[in-house]
């Protein structure tokens, strides 16, 4: 059995738990890597603040729930509504929207934010870069 020799990067304490409140975000710079930390229903997410489209500050714009179109059984449209289970963050440069819970573009999942493992313990949030 092969044993990986790749060193595991240490987890870095990047914020206190209280910095990232429920439903909110916190932007932090770790040297020159800029991260957006998000909390949704207790769970934490960490993404690089660089948009896969053109490098925009994707974690710094509106957080807004994903939009659904309501289609009836007869396939008529009854307009739009927000999906409270699917919060998005929008890139301010051109409006690409990403699912906070997965980092994927809301309409084309092959485009995704660069994400980092994140843990929380003893009031501290750690990220592995």
């Amino acid at each position: 059995m092969a044993i990986s020799a790749r060193p595991v990067a240490p987890d870095i304490v990047v914020a206190r738990s209280t910095d990232v409140l429920e439903g909110r975000r916190h932007l932090v710079a770790v040297d020159d890597v800029h991260l957006g930390l998000f909390r949704f229903r207790g769970k934490l997410y960490a993404y690089e603040n660089a948009c896969p489209h053109m490098g925009g500050p994707v974690c710094q714009d509106r957080m807004v729930d994903g939009v659904l179109e309501r289609i009836e059984d007869d396939r008529t449209s009854r307009g739009m509504t927000f999906d409270e289970d699917d919060p998005h963050v929008v890139c301010p440069w051109h409006g690409f929207e990403f699912r906070i819970t997965t980092g994927e573009h809301a309409g084309f999942s092959k485009i995704r934010l660069r994400s980092f493992p994140v843990t929380e313990d003893g009031g501290e949030i750690r990220v592995r870069l």
């Binding site: 870095i12 304490v13 916190h26 932007l27 932090v28 770790v30 800029h34 929008v90």
Partner: protein
């Protein structure tokens, strides 16, 4: 003491309409370093300032005393007209910012310390610095829709007033700011006067037709204008604009749809009239620039017009080449560059001979702006072609 990474909360937690341009565009610094953009000559052939912030000033330049009084009374008694009096601004266009998802499209409300120069001059400087742009061609925003105004007797004097104000207050304030002055196209005589007034100004690189829907560009009354521009060696631009009121777009229920189609069909219409009426043959030395429609429509036009022309030559007797040959001899601005299929884009560049005719444009501060890195990271272009598109072609075209 450890040498761990330096951790600090980001100074800007959220970008809003009040965030400064350098902060909105801070991430562009990476491209600047990666591509050495400071050493590249970059001309941005399409960007905008917000003339609505200066509306009362612009209105004071309206020559017709009755029209001016009407506007001033409007602004006095209808507070919401303070930035709109006389304009035909389409409220549907306020959807451009996608529900405030794209703040710089909504507004650039950043604080600017009071100084000698107009706020819009400082905003242009900040954008140029953030994007490493050396020369920026600056246009108005809502005034670009002037070609859609229902009343030419308002549209023409309003645009004349705006042009005078712009040439006095914005254009001379920074040597990097240039413009193609908008023509009051409904009035061919007023167009000629506009060229006579500003054609010798070194900061005026040429003239342009804005979002025009109601005038055939081939009509005889425009020939003196084209001859004048040709004689002076000044290019003519066509700056497309969107309208929700075209017969086609009037069926559309989403801004996305209107935006996708309306710019393109605006330019397609004029280009078709321009070529099929033989204007490139009548004015062989007049340089024409097609502004703000991306590039995806161009190969379509080349194929479509060639195909039709070969079957119906008798309807276009002035042509000495295929329509696609004329298209290849014209100039196009790059933004918004469609990059979702690189093979298609590469074919487009080849078909239109982009390396000698394409002009980089940012369209800043509009929601679908392109950074210079858009050109720099195209995988199928060599460095010389990139430098041509970013600034070399514009340098030749405008004599910069």
């Amino acid at each position: 003491m450890t040498n761990g990474p330096r951790i600090q909360p980001h100074a800007i937690q959220e970008i809003t309409t009040h965030t400064s341009t350098p902060d909105i565009l801070a991430n562009a610094q990476r491209d600047r370093e990666r591509y050495g953009l400071d050493d590249v000559f970059i001309v941005d052939v399409d960007s905008h300032h917000s003339e609505l912030a200066s509306w009362p000033e612009i209105i004071s330049y309206v020559e017709d005393p009755v029209l001016r009084d009407t506007a001033e009374q409007m602004m006095l008694h209808r507070p919401l007209a303070g930035k709109m009096a006389l304009s035909s601004y389409d409220p549907g266009l306020a959807l451009q910012d996608a529900g405030a998802r794209i703040p710089h499209q909504s507004n650039l409300a950043e604080p600017i310390p009071p100084g000698d120069d107009h706020r819009d001059v400082e905003l242009a400087r900040r954008a140029m610095d953030a994007m490493s742009i050396d020369v920026q061609v600056v246009f108005p925003q809502p005034m670009l829709g002037i070609g859609l105004h229902p009343d030419p007797t308002i549209a023409v004097p309003l645009l004349k007033a705006y042009n005078r104000w712009f040439v006095e207050h914005i254009l001379p304030k920074d040597p990097r700011i240039k413009s193609l002055i908008a023509l009051p196209f409904e009035d061919p005589q007023a167009c000629l006067e506009t060229v006579h007034l500003y054609g010798d100004n070194p900061d005026v690189l040429g003239f342009m037709v804005t979002s025009q829907r109601h005038a055939g560009v081939h009509r005889n009354e425009y020939m003196r204008l084209y001859a004048e521009l040709e004689e002076r060696g000044l290019p003519l631009g066509f700056h497309a604009g969107p309208s929700w009121k075209d017969t086609m777009t009037s069926t559309m229920n989403r801004f996305l749809s209107v935006h996708a189609m309306s710019f393109v069909t605006c330019n397609m219409t004029h280009m078709t009239n321009w070529i099929i009426n033989g204007l490139p043959e009548r004015f062989p030395n007049l340089k024409v620039i097609w502004i703000e429609s991306g590039l995806a429509w161009i190969p379509f036009m080349m194929q479509r017009l060639d195909h039709e022309y070969l079957m119906r030559q008798s309807e276009a007797p002035l042509l000495r080449q295929l329509p696609s040959d004329y298209i290849r001899q014209m100039y196009h601005t790059s933004q918004p560059l469609e990059v979702t299929d690189m093979k298609l884009l590469e074919s487009t560049f080849t078909a239109m001979n982009a390396q000698d005719s394409l002009l980089y444009a940012s369209d800043w501060p509009h929601w679908d702006f392109d950074l210079p890195s858009r050109i720099m990271n195209l995988p199928f272009l060599d460095r010389d072609a990139k430098l041509n598109i970013l600034g070399g072609n514009a340098r030749k075209l405008f004599g910069l």
